[in-house]
């Protein structure tokens, strides 16, 4: 079986895969990173979103060999080494942007990509449109949209979460 080498959350990983093995299967089954979830089989729900070389992708529709040599960040790799949460994680908690938590890892990874790729500002409509590939069944998105808007200034060094709440 071919070998795929990845850097996952800052650690080197080398795993044997079949041609059909998906990136999400490598993460969950071979590396034990079960924070990345599988919510569908048609690339619709976004529970499986991770970052590959800094870009949000759906790991359930990515073959492991396609990303050989890449750097992968999952939800487990977001917080700082001392446990300090990423501002997006913090915002999701502060704004009650999660209920059952199942879509949350993918939602957070997509949201970070959305904020990162919009350095000049992010309207509510842009957030709603940007979440097109992520389904949440619990929240009605209301608080997810608010959390992302609140994380934007923090991630771009233009304010704090507390200031965003005012």
């Amino acid at each position: 079986m071919p070998q795929v080498t990845l850097t996952v959350n800052g650690k080197a990983a080398s795993v044997e895969v079949e041609g059909r093995t998906l990136l999400v299967e490598v993460l969950r089954d071979k590396l034990g990173l079960t924070g990345t979830h599988v919510g569908c089989d048609t690339s619709q729900c976004g529970a499986c979103v991770v970052h590959v070389d800094g870009k949000a992708i759906k790991s359930c529709t990515t073959l492991a060999w396609q990303v050989d040599g890449s750097t992968v960040t999952t939800i487990e790799g977001l917080a700082a080494a001392d446990g300090t949460l990423h501002p997006m994680q913090e915002a999701f908690r502060e704004y009650h942007a999660l209920q059952c938590g199942f879509c949350t890892p993918g939602m957070v990874m997509s949201a970070i990509d959305l904020v990162t790729t919009h350095p000049d500002g992010l309207t509510e409509q842009q957030i709603r449109d940007g979440l097109e590939g992520n389904i949440c069944r619990c929240t009605g998105y209301h608080n997810i949209v608010k959390a992302i808007a609140a994380a934007w200034p923090v991630m771009h060094g233009r304010g704090t979460l507390a200031a965003a709440a005012e």
Binding site: C40, C103, R137, Y141
Partner: protein, 793 residues
Amino acid sequence: MNAPFEGIGASVRRKEDLRFISGNGHYTDDINRPGQLHAVIKRSDRPHAKILSIDTAAAQAAPGVVAVFTGADTAGLGSIPCGWQIHNKDGSPMAEPRHPVLAEGFVRHVGDPIAVVIADTKQHAKDAAELLAIDLEELPAVATVTAATAPGAYLVHEGAAGNLCYDWHLGDKAATEAAFASAAKIVKLDLENNRLIPNAMEPRAALGDFDASSGDYTLYTTSQNPHVIRLLMGAFVLGLPEHRLRVVAPDVGGGFGSKIYHYAEEAIVTWAAGKLKRPVKWTADRSESFMSDAHGRDHVSTAELALDAQGKFLGLKVHTLANMGAYLSTFATAVPTYLYATLLAGTYTTPVIYVEVKAVFTNTVPVDAYRGAGRPEATFLLERLVDVAAQETGLDRVEIRRKNFIPRDAFPYQTPVALQYDSGDYFATLDAALKTADWAGFPARRAAAAAKGKLRGIGISTYLEACGIAPSKVVGSLGARAGLYEVANIRVHPTGSVTVFTGTHSHGQGHETTMAQLVTDQLGVPFSQVDVVHGDTSKIPFGMGTYGSRSLAVGGSAMVKAMDKIILKGRKIAAHLLEADIDDIEFKDGKFTVAGTDRAKTFGEIALTAYVPHNYPIEELEPGLDETAFYDPKNFTYPGGCHICEVEIDPDTGVTKVINFTAVDDVGRVVNPMIVEGQVQGGVAQGIGQALLENAVYDENGQLLSGSFMDYTMPRADNLPNFSVATENTMCTHNPLGSKGCGEVGAIGSPPAVINAVVDALRDYGVRHINMPASPEKLWSIINAGRPAMAAE
């Protein structure tokens, strides 16, 4: 510095969030056991067929395969049980056909499990399942209640004549007919409540484990009620004694009703684990979820309202056909009866009501409770009918509701359909919602939209629901095969921290936070020192789980009862330590004080004394501070409220945009406002989904057409507005918290508000009613059929 307020009424941030936002949640599919095998279920792709043969030889011989089982192997197991027996009008019991774990001789819906392949990896099991040679002889299928009840319809089960599960009724038929005979006006409406697929984001999963040394079984499963699964599966399907069976429902990624029921896959993996002496895991693909999770709603009804000349409701007649699907799911039979017909008085003083319900077998996935369960169906019917009545009598939509509301001073109020409402103020929720939604300013907004070529409408729904289904004695007399109490164990540790063991289950609702707040409020123990344990039958006492918005109203009440026992015992210990009479000991703010003095013992000191009983009234009092209480409610609770929806329809595309949504709900005592708002927002999103987007579609032969997220329109962020959510609360009078429940109000009150708004937007097109979902295609056709230019073509 004062400690932050973390008791009842505080929007405390959730305890459970830290693990979920860090990827450390522990869902069933995240659990793996040493030596674990993987099960893949081969399902029927035909709606109805006779199984002529199943050749498993090639699959058995495939790489990695350990076993293949079919219905022949599981025929000795019990039928998957139905938890509620309904009786027909003539007193005879409902038809209750066998529901096998794996198909026996026939398949009856697309998705019916035929065989299970168990292998060392999921891929091997999948590959081998493709090698099963199954010879089916197709039979005629019925997909809708209308087709299934047509004369000469092919039978889903030989024993269920006319495809009827039951023919049931409620109310005074003669009195209702008399009311109709004296009416000035009768309004009639035919309507459907569309079939939905719950689609919790976590697909169902089950992992069976067998310990050969002890002979004990463990099932990890995506369930809302692990004890109920243990009882149903252990006692009725597998014949395993309950003390040998542990059921764990760890973190569960949403339920909305669909994870209440005992499913075949749970029995299959548990049974197979025992046979193979190895753990067996099954996780649904989303495609499997679509064709094996219980669906929701699917009613076809005729409703008639009798009014006097002033617009007062005199009587209501309803006839409903309710789809059960191919087999009876756990609570399926209760949904269109005791959770539906009993709700048809709504918020109104309608003096007489008569309801007939026929439950019908079809060649579709079983239908059961989905968020709201019967109550959204009742509310949609009633609130649409009231709007049509307003239209046809010329009365204002708000005024006809006000005129018929149960007055504030009429509680407790006995309805003609069995329920007695304890409290409510429908005028207060209505007035607050009208103000927030700026109902009065709507004509100007409609005109402004018209100037842009858009059709704007506003709709209202004033609803009532019943939560926390109970009391056990009453539901038992109505056919329930279970009790509906709840239990809590409050364990105070020697150092004064507390663990709560609750029989309810959290799958998104935030119980770990809300229930900890109750302890902080009642016992004065800091929030950070309270943990809540749920979901493991080896840890918690026998509880009934979470559904029907019951966790706080019933489970929280059990906690209060248990904490009352803790406080009483603490007072006895304090009386001893402080050498005072127990009647003089007061407990407040975490301190036991001799009334009128500064002599006091902290909660922590009492806890330590209880476990280190050196100076202790040991003759009269057992050591320890650990109390359990069971709470069986005296009545349902009755949340209610007013939802207002404002929509704008683009006549060129038929697309409906929700511009504003206002919900003012009465949910009784609120413990955590942030969580309550989140529950309502999520419920409203599902209600808007039902009204505008979602639809489970079968073709006439019973093939499921909406079997993936590509075909079934889930609400996404760009389909929904920000919601305006508030509460106007009256307290529940019969439970110690005053809480009524908030989990379902959003999904119950909202669908008719949306459709009433859509109909209002299209009022110039002669539209009287639109069945859900009000899809762009449906609306575009109405709009274009009504256009003079188009009509001329």
